[in-house]
Symmetry: C2
Subunit: 466 residues, 2 copies
């Protein structure tokens, strides 16, 4: 007995009158006094469940059908008919209901049909994909991921899996997790009494990566256009709705390119993936707009139709200083902008996405290209209305002497960056790239506020369940 | 000045006589006595470099062009003309050569034009993508990755990012790396003097995942068809050409499905991705067939056109015992098959890919579904001619009582698997899945023998460079 995905029924791949078998889980059951039961069945293939109309004549009606509750798994065979009610166009006139699995003790089933708090669902992360909300998040997340891969594939980028375990603690983007196979209760010691990392798995101290960028640069300086899409880690004790200890990052890197090329790539990519979601996941987006954030759809539509405004950091400071708004954090040239500043610029001053460029060098990383003014670097942030920074990037310093000067200024050891410096010794090229936190993108698209609710099993301080 | 990818020229996207600018790196330079230089330029967009013909009349001919060597980066503008020589159809009649970066001390450039050993190149993993070989590996790897995502997307699967850091050491698939933020030189101790993991980042001991399967099952039991594609880890001291400490794995999981469905999915997926490589990367595959493994293309063509033979483990043992071949490892019912056995079956006995099914339960994992015979489980391996096992999978035990019995037999604690057992308590469904080691796939496709040469920056015992 083969299986028909519910989405194929709603997409009219079957004629009325067809015999189909749907396999999925019960969302709700309702019994009429006339001796008919209505089952709402979902299978994850789309947002909407399909209704099966089950007559009392079925031989297992009393023994099975009347015992069905939310979460039970079934295979329902029947004829596809027009639905007389509002809402769905089609329903199933069931001729057979086979139960694969009942729910043990339905009263205590953690995902029973009543509404649960989002915190409660987070504690049941192994069952929450059964809900409307997390089913929708999963499909939108999948759509975004696939659109990102498609966008880069169509443009001739190569996906690079940069290493997760890294021997260098010099990526400079944040606190790191240590990775080891040493027996911590019996650490080997060297002659000085220090831990002997020569005995560790890799023969030295190793950590989880915080960014694939430096590694990706080596491939961009050979194959022109590459990107990473993989997990990255921050061992920061940040218990906020915006931070995860483990999250996925997208990092394109392009050769023979400057800051303006990277900015254009970021704008094109965001528009491409937002378009994909609006087209391919209209059902899930309608749910988010109705139940989570009424701006969910219009926000994306605006992003797609807006021209992203380019603005220099220096001009932004001027605007913020001259506006009549009072900010919690004072503004002066040289400070890092806060979310309140970013959102004022994007939402109130411009009313469109902004690509803010050319930041003071002292608040940015060593690898960013120094501008001719000697005090700013070719860095950019994409600021989106409703969230603030969603992408950060830069042109990289491709001049060896200038890079060495920056390393020295920041007290970094040239030896630690020897392979990175090689890229500047051998056929150096202007190149640029950016990073996009994938979960922040999913959060932005769905309107789901807490980033822990847009990844299957979130990792945060004190949280590594499942 | 915009840039034309070389692949667009070879794909005839520009008419003869067009002005184009190519940006890339020098592979070779040859000077004729007539005062003309021939530059071979690659940009990573395809296997073949393009030839630029540079006349001595260019103002920087002596100062720049005659100093170009392998690895220098250039932008060459010129007219697209038919190539009079053999090989390429098009070449560039250069009117401008701009040098972005020379190679410092060309005599010591690690990727100079002479041939290097593959071990030497591994030691220069940041520069090896500049070679023909690693450029081709990277493009084929990218093509395979994209084909996998496409295959699943077209079939309505959702990509799930299962966690990398896991709090459970009960995945049972191999030795694990520990992840910690504790100061190893000053470990906190509890009252018994043991390490106090409550003070660690996650409040307990954590490890790097060895498989996303158990987590993926939670999503399959809610959304029907899902897959993972992410890094997994083995802290095994295996210094072989087939093992990495960090590798990428693809793990689909399908609900309302049995072993036969998983076997069909595996066959369909392999054929789909092999077809994609043969179609989309014909240039790189021609290189592998010529320089690395002359069977590289025919092997894939055979896989695509073969029907994969289903065979029971018990029958395979019978065949191996009755054949007149002498094996290093003796064969009897109950043993795990060795590579020599798998290759005999696929290459000599059947001459086609085999899906070997229903293995003895004692050599398989706790979660595999017990068959009615009580002594085998619904496990499968896909054996490919030329490599042996390429995919391993199984139907999962969906019956709670049977699962609990297996946990007990194997001395595993039910409490450790409470969330996994919940899937069997609440609307359980038959489900199945498999795992594909992505680097082994790339190795199989390209014929590149050592798995460390098909991932950008390999991690193995004693090796975590870059």
């Amino acid at each position: 007995m083969s299986k028909t995905p519910i989405v194929d029924i709603f997409n009219s791949k079957f004629a009325l009158g067809s015999q189909v078998t749907v396999k999925g889980w019960i969302r709700t059951r309702r019994d009429s006094k006339a001796g008919i039961s209505f089952l709402n069945i979902y299978d994850g293939s789309c947002f909407d469940p399909i209704q099966a109309v089950v007559p009392a004549e079925l031989e297992n009606y009393t023994s099975d059908v009347l015992n069905l509750s939310a979460g039970c798994s079934v295979a329902v065979t029947g004829e596809l008919v027009e639905s007389p009610g509002k809402g769905q166009q089609f329903e199933l006139q069931a001729t057979k209901v086979e139960v694969h699995g009942f729910v043990q003790d339905p009263d205590t089933y953690p995902m029973s049909a009543k509404r649960h708090s989002i915190e409660y669902m987070r504690e049941h992360a192994h069952l929450r994909p059964r809900t409307n909300m997390f089913g929708a998040v999963t499909r939108v997340r999948n759509c975004l991921s696939h659109a990102i891969h498609n966008f880069f594939y169509e443009r001739g980028f190569n996906w690079i899996s940069t290493p997760i375990i890294t021997g260098s603690d010099c990526e400079g983007a944040g606190e790191m997790f240590q990775v080891s196979t040493l027996d911590l209760e019996n650490l080997p010691r060297d002659e000085q009494g220090k831990i002997d990392y020569k005995k560790d798995f890799f023969g030295k101290e190793t950590f989880l990566t915080v960014s694939g960028q430096l590694n990706a640069e080596t491939y961009a300086c050979a194959l022109s256009n590459v990107y990473t899409f993989g997990p990255t880690f921050r061992a920061e004790n940040s218990n906020t709705t915006r931070h995860l200890a483990e999250f996925w990052m997208v990092e394109p890197e392009i050769a023979f390119a400057d800051l303006s090329d990277a900015a254009q790539l970021a704008e094109d990519m965001l528009k491409y993936v937002f378009n994909a979601v609006l087209t391919e996941r209209a059902d899930d987006m309608a749910f988010f707009a109705e139940r989570v954030d009424k701006e969910a759809i219009t926000r994306l539509q605006n992003m797609v139709s807006s021209e992203f405004v380019r603005m220099d950091y220096t001009d932004a400071i001027d605007i913020l200083q001259k506006c009549d708004k009072t900010f919690e954090y004072p503004v002066e040239w040289g400070v890092d902008l806060q979310s309140e500043h970013e959102r004022y610029l994007a939402e109130e001053h411009v009313g469109a996405p902004i690509i803010l460029q050319n930041y003071p060098k002292d608040i940015k990383a060593f690898y960013m290209k120094l501008n001719e003014d000697g005090k700013t670097v070719a860095a950019m942030d994409v600021l989106a209305p409703g969230i603030g920074e969603i992408i950060g990037g830069s042109q990289r310093e491709e001049d060896l002497a200038a890079l060495d000067k920056r390393l020295e200024e920041m007290g970094l050891d040239k030896e630690d960056y020897s392979w990175y410096r090689d890229l500047r010794k051998y056929g150096t090229v202007p190149h640029a790239g950016f990073g996009l936190g994938f979960e922040r993108l999913v959060s932005y698209v769905t309107g789901v506020q807490n980033i822990r609710d847009v990844i299957a099993f979130p990792r945060a301080p004190g949280t590594a369940e499942f």
